[in-house]
């Protein structure tokens, strides 16, 4: 007897497949399903398209300024806004869009001129140094504090009420706009110390407020991924909690922590709003935390305000430099997270 022939004649695999295939779904349902899929792909393109376009525009406009050595070594030309009064006209003319190619060509000739004739050297060193300083200061303040805060949340507080409350408020603080952090530091620092209070350090304070909750939450997330048996094994050897934390837990979570901190640093480096009223303005390089300073993001804004060919080139150049810094930090963060990931 053949036992496999119990499948009825009309339920052959072929037939079942045909019944389940798209062909048996009504046209309306099929169209809606297909339309939804296409809409999802379009949604992605609507976000990715502008990104690609922006990257292309920013790099084509900014590269001429950045590729000149002056950019990295020279002070910011102070009178770049007044240097060409035709600038304002050009700003209005931008309505025609075709100006895109214009600054490009002038950029190469101008920078060639400047290096030979010494007319106007398009330098951005003060802003590059300033960005470096403010971010360094903010990191020095926020990263140790944030990591220790996360250690409290995950290793000590765990799920008690205080820890839950801190956790919740940290999330809330992540959502506080950066401009509010700027207003805060302006109120507590600049209004107290006057113009002398405006400095890279004051800007660092504002950025640290911004970074702190990000560092706390990402570090805590990473500490939570460390398997408990590691802590237990360490404890079983008679190790104190602090030593377990410093010697076992933190090292195990280190790649994730580094990655989270780098993302926070990248975010801080790109901030403008809290910087402008806490840092002041300079055109020559200031390597100290005291005294007024400037950053790339602040320069983009103020050069844009200046208007004019040269100032606009400088704004684009600063944008390329800033994107470069942020991109490198982000990519390193992703690399570290992937390469050395726990799990």
């Amino acid at each position: 007897m053949n036992t496999t022939s119990t499948v009825p004649e009309d339920r052959t695999p072929d037939r079942v497949r045909r019944e389940l295939s798209d062909a048996n779904i009504s046209i309306g349902r099929r169209v809606r399903n297909r339309a939804a899929t296409v809409a999802m792909a379009v949604a992605f393109l609507l976000a990715a398209g502008p990104l690609v376009l922006m990257a292309a525009n920013v790099f084509s406009q900014g590269l001429p300024a950045v590729t000149n050595l002056d950019w990295w070594t020279q002070p910011i030309p102070a009178d770049v806004g007044r240097a060409d009064l035709a600038g304002n006209e050009q700003l209005q003319d931008l309505g025609f869009g075709d100006q895109a190619a214009d600054p490009d060509s002038t950029a190469s000739t101008d920078s060639a001129d400047s290096s030979t004739d010494g007319l106007v050297a398009l330098g951005m060193q003060p802003a590059i140094v300033g960005t470096f300083l403010t971010v360094l200061g903010a990191s020095a303040l926020a990263i140790p504090l944030g990591i220790m805060g996360a250690v409290y949340l995950n290793e000590y507080g765990k799920r008690n009420r205080l820890a839950n409350f801190i956790r919740f408020m940290t999330d809330v603080m992540t959502g506080v706009p950066s401009v509010v952090m700027g207003v805060f530091i302006y109120s507590i620092w600049v209004l107290r110390f006057g113009v002398e209070g405006k400095s890279a350090f004051a800007a660092s304070l504002a950025l640290a407020c911004l970074m702190l909750p990000i560092v706390v939450r990402s570090t805590e997330e990473m500490l939570r991924l460390v398997p408990d048996p590691l802590r237990e094994a360490s404890a079983a050897l008679g190790t104190r909690t602090w030593k377990t934390t410093v010697g076992v837990t933190l090292p195990a979570a280190l790649p994730g922590i580094v990655s989270g901190c780098l993302l926070a640093v990248a975010r801080a480096a790109g901030e403008t709003a809290p910087i402008v009223f806490t840092i002041g303005f300079v055109t020559t390089t200031n390597w100290r935390f005291t005294g007024q300073n400037t950053t790339l993001s602040a320069q983009i804004y103020s050069q844009l305000q200046n208007g004019g060919d040269l100032a606009t080139q400088m704004a684009w150049g600063a944008a390329v430099t800033l994107i470069g810094i942020v991109l490198v930090l982000t990519l390193i963060a992703r690399f570290v997270a992937r390469r050395y990931a726990l799990r």
Binding site: N33, A36, A39, M40, V42, A43, F44, A47, L51, M54, L94, G95, F96, G97, L145, G146, M148, G149, Y152, E155, R159, N160, R161, I166, V172, G175, V176, P177, S178, V179, V180, V183, F184, Y186, I188, P213, I214, V216, R217, S218, D228, A235, R240, T241, T244, G260, L263, A266, R267, G270, E271, T272, A273, S297, I300, L304, L322, I323, T330, R334
Partner: protein
């Protein structure tokens, strides 16, 4: 011994004993252990301290505006600093209008991308799609502003005016879609939409991944198409999380400063025309705080206080809605 610093009653925690064996009652190690704990607690408390300080200090510096202007500050409909008029209503209006417009554009796109990643794209391509959207989040606000100022405003102006001409006879539409000079609520909102898309996408995506696979498989087994499965299973399961994601996006949009400042113009005005020049609270602070004095300065810091309170409210309600947000790893997204 080691629990002495608990300021609030903790739930009985067996792990505490396991991870902190207090073998030597009071050695050097014990003291280090306790001070380490104290330092960690202090670091955790700085977050609370910072939030408290922000609230107290800014309110204090804004007090002249609050007390001298009183109702005409919070309910005044004209913000003309040169004439001493500091009514914040137009700025609050502008902030909310721009944010809501941005969300109207960003939410469908973000949900679409999140579905695209979780339901459509092959597993191997997921990383690439997510990375692209994350890169969007990495671009500094001021770069969006610079790019928008030079590359988007001109075509926007043409497009807006074309739309405005097309609807010129129709009663309501002709008011809402009026003539434009380029810089406008709509210009700022469109760029803002691009900026809040990554955060809404990443949270929505997390929410979608928590939908039980069995429910999805069940719907498909019953013969539902993918779209029917999404509508019948994924969406109902994610309403809370999606609402939270939208609120988070709203909070982000309301606080966005530089890009908006560069694209919106600078005229605090209550108008129904979304193609008209406008102004928001953060943009107004950003433009003027450095040079402002006396009452104007207090009024600007007061704007910061109002913005702080509004975003806190939005974020608290958002966090309540998205429990899943706990699982989100990076704060940068």
């Amino acid at each position: 011994m080691t629990l002495e610093l608990d300021t609030l009653p903790a739930a009985p925690d067996p792990e505490a004993d396991r991870s902190a064996p207090d073998l030597t009652a009071d050695g050097v190690g014990g003291r280090i252990d306790r001070s380490f704990r104290r330092v960690a607690l202090a670091a955790g408390l700085t977050v609370l301290l910072a939030l408290l300080l922000i609230a107290v200090v800014t309110t204090n510096k804004a007090w002249p505006a609050f007390s001298e202007l009183g109702g005409s500050y919070f309910f005044g409909t004209e913000w003309v600093p040169s004439e001493g008029l500091y009514g914040i209503v137009p700025l609050v209006f502008g902030t909310i209008l721009v944010s809501v417009l941005a969300l109207v554009v960003a939410v469908p796109i973000s949900v679409g991308i999140a579905l695209f990643v979780t339901e459509v794209v092959h597993r191997r391509a997921r990383g690439a799609v997510t990375t692209t959207i994350d890169l969007l989040a990495a671009v500094p606000s001021v770069v969006f502003g610079l790019w928008g100022f030079y590359y988007l405003i001109p075509p926007f102006q043409t497009a807006f005016n074309a739309v405005s001409d097309a609807v010129s006879g129709i009663p309501v539409l002709s008011t809402v879609l009026g003539p434009s000079t380029g810089s406008s609520y709509a210009s700022a909102a469109l760029v803002l939409a691009l900026m809040v898309t990554p955060i809404i996408t990443s949270v929505t995506r997390e929410v979608f991944t928590t939908v039980p696979p069995n429910d999805k498989a069940g719907a498909l087994a019953l013969g539902a198409t993918r779209w029917e499965m999404i509508r019948g299973v994924v969406f109902p399961h994610s309403t809370g999380g999606m609402t939270g994601a939208v609120m988070l996006g709203l909070g982000r949009a309301m606080g966005e400063t530089v890009a908006v400042a560069l694209l919106i113009g600078a005229r605090p005005d209550i108008t129904a025309n979304i193609f008209a020049v406008g102004e928001t609270m953060p943009a107004q602070i950003f433009r003027n705080l450095s040079e402002a004095d006396d009452l104007f300065r207090a009024a600007l810091i007061g704007l910061g206080v109002v913005l702080f309170v509004l975003t806190i409210l939005v974020n608290v309600s958002a966090r309540r809605m998205v429990v899943v947000i706990d699982r989100r790893v990076k704060g940068a997204a």
